[in-house]
Amino acid sequence: MQVTVNGEHREIASGTVDALLAELDYEGTHFAIAVNFDVLPKSRWAQTPLKAGDEIEIITPRQGG
């Protein structure tokens, strides 16, 4: 299905966030994730279903002022 990941349109096979991270080869451990502007706590990554058109943001700590 078609979703948007970090602003890019993608065709994905995964049905959950957990599966999506593996599908896209995310290897780090410090992420926070929002789906359609709602933060999805890590405890729900495995069970929350993704659907076509979802906007997924995968966010990590970075330098800032």
Binding site: L24, G28, A32, I59, T60, P61, R62, Q63, G65
Partner: protein, 260 residues
């Protein structure tokens, strides 16, 4: 002691983690500044990347309190969601709230800022709003529940120092119970000292240290300036006068006689 919400700190210098020549110089600069609070941001991670992990382990080694920002957010919705992501990622209810109105000045969108602050405070956040020196905006932020207010001295990264001293003095006078932090525009240790002399509780800066020729040495200079400014404020500065007033006693001056 400096107090932000219910937490106390001895250092009055908050420092950013961006723009340093290397990760090692960032760490050494933060240590030289003696800062106990550092700002960080949240950005998109690229697939396969471990950039976030690497940066986060550098910060953890410093044993400091983290103040995440919403830098770059241009709407209330983006800022609120970014704040919630920061809470999830860093496990803190602190947020340096930025809602940006203009690319050239990085001027805060003060209308959006007040709205976002209200939403976040109702959701349990402890908000550090980056604002202008406008008193009416600061009053609205306090009304919304902010216990900290962070007006700019000048635009972010401009190094111009305090450009509207009278307005900053007015904020201090009108908000005696609010922690006030000068955030943005500081270019030299003397600017930081001036903010503390005005009775500001702390300063937050990044570029002035990170872009110095020797960031670690500059961080040390800022540490001294902030301590000097605070000590001067506590010691009670004299008022300025329009005319000279001799410091050496007049009585007993040799050859002195009254002008007839």
């Amino acid at each position: 002691m400096l107090k932000f919400y219910d937490r106390e700190f001895s250092s009055r210098l908050l420092i950013g983690t961006a723009l340093y020549p290397s990760p090692r110089i960032m760490q050494d600069s933060i240590r030289a500044a003696g800062s106990q609070i550092v700002t960080v941001s949240l950005r998109r991670e690229t697939a396969g990347g471990k950039t976030g992990d690497a940066f986060w382990s550098l910060i953890r080694e410093l044993d400091v309190t983290v103040l995440p920002n919403t830098a770059g957010c241009r709407s209330v919705r983006e800022a609120v969601t970014t704040a919630k992501l920061a809470r999830e990622l860093f496990g803190t209810s602190w947020i340096k709230l930025e809602v940006i109105a203009d690319n050239d000045t990085l001027q805060p969108d003060v209308v959006g800022l007040v709205e976002a602050a209200s939403i976040l405070i109702k959701d349990g956040f402890e908000v550090f709003p980056y604002c202008t020196e406008d008193l009416s905006v600061a009053l609205r932020l306090v009304e919304a529940g902010c216990k900290v207010v962070m007006p700019w001295a000048a635009p972010i990264g401009s190094a111009k120092g305090i450009t509207n001293r009278d307005a900053l003095k007015l904020l201090r006078a009108r908000l005696p119970d609010i922690a006030l932090v000068v955030d943005a525009g500081i270019g030299a240790p003397s600017h930081a000292a001036e903010a503390l002399e005005l009775g500001y509780d702390a300063v937050l800066l990044n570029t002035a240290v990170a872009k110095a020729e020797n960031p670690v040495a500059m961080a040390g200079a800022f540490k001294l300036a902030v301590e000097a400014g605070r000590t001067a404020f506590e010691a009670g500065l004299m008022d300025a006068r329009d005319f000279a007033s001799p410091s050496t006693p007049v009585v007993g001056t040799p050859f002195w006689h009254a002008v007839s």
